[in-house]
């Protein structure tokens, strides 16, 4: 799975940047077409859900998704053989 922000919904409140224990969400810099500054994702593959959601059959942690007032945070399926970076945290 892949963590993603839905650009059509996000209103740029930056609450997600405060709640993630891994600090995956960073304040963005550039406004999008609607003039909203969407947060950037810092190595989103570190989110526990990206690896474990299917294994456990439920959402783990999920604090960012519950907190996001605009229902903009979700996990999307990866394409088969999609190249991805692997981040290991010690």
């Amino acid at each position: 799975m892949k963590l993603a922000i839905d650009e059509t919904r996000c209103k740029g409140c930056n609450l997600c940047t405060k709640v993630c224990p891994y600090k995956i969400f960073k304040e963005g810099k550039k406004a999008n077409r609607k003039g909203i500054i969407i947060p950037e994702l810092d190595r989103p593959e570190r989110c526990t859900n990206c690896r474990l959601m299917h294994l456990y059959g439920r959402t783990l942690c999920g604090v960012c998704q519950l907190t996001c007032p605009d229902q903009a945070i979700h996990w999307v399926e990866e394409l088969p053989y999609e190249p991805k970076k692997v981040a290991i945290e010690y």
């Binding site: 209103k11 930056n14 229902q71």
Partner: protein
């Protein structure tokens, strides 16, 4: 049904301002609902008027968007006409405690089997920021330009005194706890009241020195005190600062209830 399926996805994004806490509370409510295994055909959402009261419009179940203050009155009718339905009320502080204050205390007294989630932003958000019965002392609003001088209601104390079976308070910061509280409310027969303090950056935060949305959420976090800690401090006879509010499960009991599923 997963909680995303309880949303009317075609109606999103909702009309709430950027950073409005109401969206967070809908998330938590639906995440709790997901665990109840209720069918959407058997569930009804009822609300009054206000920003908070627009929430049922984004939920797939049947809903009633009623007149200002009358959410609980309509919900009482729905529940007593057909006790097999699960009725959830979403309301605001103005809707519940100002114009709807009497319906609130009498529904607690009758202990009707409803779950009421109050999004308390301590202001009339929709109409541009007039003071409500929960606006804290000293806070600015369009009707209290020199600071509020009236002592606010403690909605949870009101519900407990009036007889509700389940009462708890959390904030938009405590998302997991709030989800559990709503779940407990949905499971409890009788009147369940869950107060969720939320940020309203547009009508409240802007006038009360919360420049960023996160500043008000941080205020809610740092000024909430767990019930266990409050009780311990009281026992030791220590002073509790006046600007702190209690969060946690404040009441759970088994008074005779009305309209419980047959």
């Amino acid at each position: 049904m997963s909680y995303e399926e309880w949303y009317r996805q075609d109606r999103l994004p909702h009309i709430y301002c950027a950073g409005c806490g109401n969206g967070t509370i809908i998330n938590c409510t639906l995440a709790a609902l997901e665990q109840m295994a209720w069918k959407k055909e058997d569930t009804v959402f009822v609300s009054g008027i206000g920003c908070s009261s627009r929430a049922p419009g984004y939920i797939v179940t049947d809903s009633l968007h009623t007149t200002h203050g009358r959410a609980i009155a309509f919900a009482t009718g729905v529940k007593l006409a057909n006790p097999d339905l699960h009725v959830v009320v979403i309301t605001g502080d103005g809707d519940l405690a100002a114009i709807g204050g009497n319906h609130f205390i009498h529904a607690c007294r009758r202990n009707i089997d409803l779950t009421v989630v109050c999004m308390n932003n301590q202001i009339y958000g929709m109409t541009g920021g007039q003071g409500s019965p929960t606006t804290p002392l000293g806070c600015l609003s369009t009707t209290t330009p020199y600071g509020c001088v009236e002592t606010p209601f403690d909605l949870c104390d009101l519900a407990i005194a009036a007889g509700a079976n389940y009462v708890s308070r959390w904030t938009s910061y405590h998302v997991k706890e709030l989800e559990k509280a709503v779940l407990a409310g949905l499971q409890t027969p009788g009147f369940s009241f869950i107060e969720a303090l939320v940020q309203c950056p547009t009508a409240f935060g802007r006038r009360n020195k919360f420049k960023q949305v996160a500043d008000q959420v941080e205020y809610l976090r740092s000024h909430s005190m767990l019930k266990a800690k409050r009780d311990r401090l009281l026992e030791q006879g220590e002073h509790i600062p006046g600007d702190m509010f209690v969060v946690g499960e404040l009441e759970r009991r088994n008074r005779p209830a009305l309209g419980v599923k047959r």
